[in-house]
Symmetry: C2
Subunit: 226 residues, 2 copies
DNA sequence: AGGCTTACCTACTGATGAGTAAGACTACTT
DNA sequence: AAGTAGTCTTACTCATCAGTAGGTAAGCCT
């Protein structure tokens, strides 16, 4: 009991028998909680099993090693995030609107799934570990999505000028800005997802050059969702 | 010898006697190398002592615990980075020029001091550890610097419109974008610092809105340094 | 009923790694 | 030359934690 426990449930000894699929989900849920709070290295399998309300060998039987467990967390949460965003981006809309929707979806997801986002974000800089592949893949997919959007934007307006360099680094920069804002959000939880999304639009769509001149970005459509 | 060694120097047994100040620098140098490559948790004090070419108890005698050692690394490298940037930002210049110079200084520093930057960046998402204070402080200082710049920019042009929200989150977003670009740079080392800085200006000063219209940012002054 | 599968457990092993005890060598003082 | 302050080492201790061996019990078939 030297460290503060991760808040929450424990089940009494000899847990009820449950089908494997259910336990696997419970274990993954617990793992996301623990990994998001402690980070990969500082998290222990004992704590995961404790939070999951099950004994350690079950985790090994079902999910494999610590690394595999972590990779499974990453995969699951990355997929959820990407589907959240992918669900609202319609290629027929104009780029500005697509970007707005995607960005808003991102902050909405983060607001509603802090642990999911944290587990993805906290280990983001990790290299050399086997699960780095999962991390890199998730990031690559996100960047590719935005990059494609920017490419279409450049094409649509008939201007290749800003794609000259490739849009990929700019997409990477945008995700970085999004992550940093999400981090800032943790210390200012009173802000709405919409306000956060608006900030990112102001930076990424308008740029400081416009902002300095008093031209700020704001959602020009009717309010979408909360 | 299961893991690949951090490249480089070893000294023969019974190291030459050297004054404390010198050893402390050597230890910090080694620690930055190891921490930047492995991350805080995966780094071992044995490896640090090995790379430093000195025995472990010396590290404890001079720099204290692993956490204190890491904090010392963070402090030193953060200071170097901030001084690099602070050195080129002249408050009398207009904001655009200041931003350009600061951003260029950042990428120049990162290019010349990959380890320094990595040690600052890799653990950026860490919370709850004692050294998190150092990390947070470094970040806070960087954000404050940019934030102040933006405030002056807003004031100078006589427009408070974009400071309405506060500039702080935007400054945080900018640093995040910078970090992400620096990360991308690792996979594209052929790019020059200037090209990287230009990308960040395109995103943060012009914004996608302008870029889509074919209006890109470029340094309008004479070439600064390589 | 007996048998088989699957869920579940306690209690270990073995490795790694932070931190230290206790002393040895060197050089500078007086 | 003897003391002493500071540098440096080998060789431990001790805690933590990933992973496992070897079992118990619950349900589900005949």
């Amino acid at each position: 009991m030297t460290k503060k426990d991760v808040a929450g449930a424990r089940t009494p000894p000899r847990a009820k028998r449950l089908p494997r699929a259910v336990r696997e989900r419970q274990i993954l849920d617990a793992a996301v909680r623990v990994f998001s709070e402690r980070g990969y290295h500082a998290a222990s399998m004992d704590e995961v099993s404790d939070v999951a309300g099950i004994s350690k060998p079950m985790i090994y039987a079902y999910l494999g090693s610590k690394e595999e467990l972590f990779a499974a967390c990453i995969r699951r949460e990355a997929t959820r995030l990407m589907e959240s965003i992918g669900g609202v981006v319609d290629v027929n809309l104009d780029p500005e609107e697509q970007l707005w929707r995607g960005v808003l979806a991102f902050f909405t997801f983060v607001g509603e799934n802090r642990d999911s986002w944290q587990v993805l974000h906290r280990q983001a800089g990790t290299q050399g570990a086997p699960f780095a592949a999962e991390l890199a893949e998730g990031r690559r997919a996100a960047v590719a999505m935005i990059s494609a959007l920017l490419d279409r934007a450049a094409g649509k307006e008939g201007v290749g000028a800003f794609a000259e360099g490739q849009t990929e680094p700019l997409a990477a920069a945008l995700t970085g800005a999004g992550e940093a804002l999400a981090e800032w959000w943790l210390e200012h939880p009173e802000e709405s997802p919409k306000a956060m999304a608006r900030r990112l639009m102001n930076l990424s769509w308008m740029g400081f050059g416009n902002l300095v001149l008093g031209r700020a970005w704001h959602p020009d459509k009717q309010p979408e969702t909360a």
